[in-house]
Symmetry: C3
Subunit: 365 residues, 3 copies
């Protein structure tokens, strides 16, 4: 593995191997991911790549049944598979979940670079801030008064931690990420570059001559194991808390309004948006560019497909799969689209019927 061969400098200076390349055997992979070798376990592999890109010296993976054909056609030297059959005669490691095994092998073979602990020159840390053991604060980062940062958390260049903010252990704030005053981040959270946690909610009341701002005095509470994407924005509550539940993953450029409560293990894809005071359940999926208006309730496990929209005070039942705007059950959405596709012919048929029933007009029409 490249990591080991580069020696102890690596951990300190942060050089990550290029793209999954290193030297290892299939047996090593099997041992690491808890799988069973099928075929020759001693062959040397040089890296990991997707089925289409992988060459004879590389390991790839067959995520599930739908990829079986691509697996058979692949030039990969070895495969992570869920069954011997899926190996298509190649050397393989059989595991119950090939994608998970891939993730684990990549973690083991490419341990993430850790910056040197401590405060870099050019970091600004208020003397009243409390930093746990092994915390790293990079040049250009700012940690404000009374902020608390848990052990081993990394605050990258240009990142900001506001006054009285609290960040758990083993978190990673990428460059220019911002956790504003008093907000709370759990353990093992990741904020991608430019993510904002704790911007003011969008609340105004017309006072006769202008939009009068309603002070936004609450906070955002992000539970453990949450990831927030690049340049995504999570507004603080007016009073109380905006909550992002444990294990929820949020992609880039997503907007979450004030007072929203998101359950655990939900997934918000790129550019999705959630209006103020909505309640999103557990294990909900919002696909890309989905729009949830304010005061909406989304039940556990519901799926909104790409660009779907749910109107103000809407209510989506648990487990529903909805599409379109206004959102309909996905099958109904597809059926209606198909019916509209038949509309031109139907109008012709209607006109033909009318004509038949008005014989005297035949010639003049």
């Amino acid at each position: 593995m490249v990591g080991r061969s580069r020696g102890p400098q690596r951990d300190r200076r942060g050089s990550r191997p290029r793209s999954g390349r290193g030297r290892f055997t299939l047996a090593e992979v099997a041992a690491a991911v808890g799988g069973r070798v099928h075929g020759d376990g001693s062959a040397t592999l040089l890296g990991v790549a997707g089925l289409e890109a992988a060459g004879p010296g590389e390991l790839s993976w067959v995520a599930d049944e739908t990829r079986a054909e691509a697996g058979a056609a692949s030039r990969a030297g070895a495969l992570l598979v869920a069954s011997e059959r899926a190996a298509s005669g190649k050397p393989a490691v059989v595991v119950s979940n090939p994608s998970l095994a891939l993730a684990r092998w990549l973690e083991l073979s490419h341990p993430p670079a850790r910056p040197r602990p401590g405060r870099a020159r050019g970091a600004s840390v208020d003397p009243t801030a409390r930093l746990g053991a092994g915390v790293s604060v990079a040049a250009g980062a700012v940690v404000s008064a009374r902020a608390r940062i848990g052990a081993r958390t990394v605050v990258s260049a240009g990142a900001f931690v506001g006054e009285d903010a609290e960040i758990g252990e083993d978190c990673l704030l990428h460059p220019n990420a911002a956790v504003l005053s008093r907000c709370r981040i759990g353990q093992r959270c990741v904020l991608q570059a430019g993510a904002v946690v704790g911007s003011d909610g969008f609340g105004y009341v017309w006072d006769g001559s202008g939009h009068h701002k309603i002070p936004q005095l609450g906070i955002v509470r992000v539970e453990d194991d949450v990831e927030i994407g690049a340049n995504s924005t999570i507004d603080r509550a007016t009073l109380g808390e905006t909550v992002i539940g444990r294990g929820t993953k949020i992609d880039n450029l997503v907007q979450v309004g004030h007072n929203v409560v998101v359950g655990p293990h939900s997934v918000f894809c790129g550019q999705a948006g959630v209006g103020g005071s909505s309640r999103i359940g557990r294990g909900v999926t919002l696909a890309g560019q989905v729009g949830i208006s304010d005061h909406v309730t989304i039940g556990d496990g519901a799926i909104l497909t790409g660009q779907a929209g749910v109107a103000r005070r809407g209510r989506v039942p648990a487990g529903a799969v909805l599409s379109g705007m206004p959102a309909l059950p996905h099958r109904e959405f597809l059926r209606r689209a198909a019916l509209v596709g038949r509309l031109e012919a139907a109008l012709d048929r209607l006109a033909a019927l009318e004509k038949r029933l008005t014989p005297g007009d035949t010639e003049t029409e």
Copy 2:
């Protein structure tokens, strides 16, 4: 009030009370917001919370008629209401606009933290920049040559003020907000974290071998009392000005293209986008994820509902309420959606008619 009890450190060091909690009487609230006490004005309250969350020691508010039932069901100890009837027997302050009274009470009871005036260590201020009295520039902020910043304006950590830029008095630039060269910001404006004012407009001309950039030489002019949301982006004009009118409020992740002119008191909700050279009137509402193409004109007071889209060179009359893509009058949008829902049955009826009119085919169909 918590603020007072925390002593003089508070104003300087920026600790805001947690979430609207403090000790006060209903009579104090009535005096502060210009309302009338209904019931016992001497009872002590400890904080402010929404109707659903409020407990017996807390003040809440009944925003309007639609919230009357929630008001009656609330456990709140006291209410801000528009009429004695809306108090549902609870102690209350009667005011013409409960939401506005709430905003004012929160302002008074939670005066915003002000950072220490002056340039923090780690702030970079060009010697040719001119800063008004009481301006605060935080660590990691950069103020460029010849920039002018009005009295009491706060430039937070990582915020950027470009060369020759001009910012009025009493503005607040949150962390990593950027006002690029020569752009002008009025008085009392707020830029949330990561907001960008003055990025280049998206203008190219094909030169036979590539997209040739048209220099973007204009500026953005933001008038007084404007708020721009987190990570929103306002492009500078090609020539002349992109204008955001007085009192207009822009939510997070909103895009405003070059040469756009927005009138006063408009509201752009999260992830709305406006293409180049469009003219948006006064008091216009763009709901979340609305898309306005380029060279569109939107009349005063028009409302575009969530995810609505207006095509290139479109024209929306004053006062219109439009939905869908392409945008239609809202009632027409709803009617068409309902009609499409009846389409399957209609096609069945059409087939039945056809069958009746072709009796010979009955058996073979």
Copy 3:
């Protein structure tokens, strides 16, 4: 020209003329853009403005036939035109492409301000980073270990260059733009403020109790002459590369997922989004708020109009023009919208036919 008249200070200190204003003659313009003077070439002009805004002392341009009427109505003192006829009797410069001539004249008359080369006080540059001749790194910018930056590239305030990242010559990173570790940027690229290149791709696998992150070990490779808009985000590949092809222009708040490959000279307008592993051809146009799901293939020269959506594993043929969600050929999209508009009348006609065919029911209906 203002530039010249301001003397040598200008280039160093960055003052750009206000808005295309300066003193020049039409003959100078013709010489500079390679055009032919029509009418009096000696008249003095003071600036450049659009057709509607231009006054008698200003130069404007008639981009194409569709602007001929506006050209004739304009008060501009002189015009850039494609034919003498388009000059409408005004002094003019005749060129094959007036918009391109405009761009060139603006470039020549307003050479962009260049910051002083070198590292500003308050810039943080790792000693192992390699900077080419004339590179400028501003206050608050951070250049990490082993990064390489080509000659004359400008790294503005708050911008970030990650470890082992590589940036070509003559690039411009606006304030708070970030190129994360190991990513590669070509020559003459522009990153607008807050743009993020190299955020982690959004990849997880369910492990029975939570979403397990798949390490994102790849990079982003941005080819030459690319522009990336303000607060846009480009995710790094899981393995291998996310690629933005040569000459492609990306507007603000655009999201490009991991493993995406974009061909040369494509154009992504504001708030468009592309899901993971999609392949976008050469010269493709994604209008504002277009959503491309994951594993989609878009052929060369295809155009997706505003807010169009292409579903997972969709395939758009080369040259297609698609609209709506799900995306349909644009003409079909328009036809269906028109047909739905006729649906109410059609249902009435259907009911009328049914009534005629059921004479006995006439009175009771």
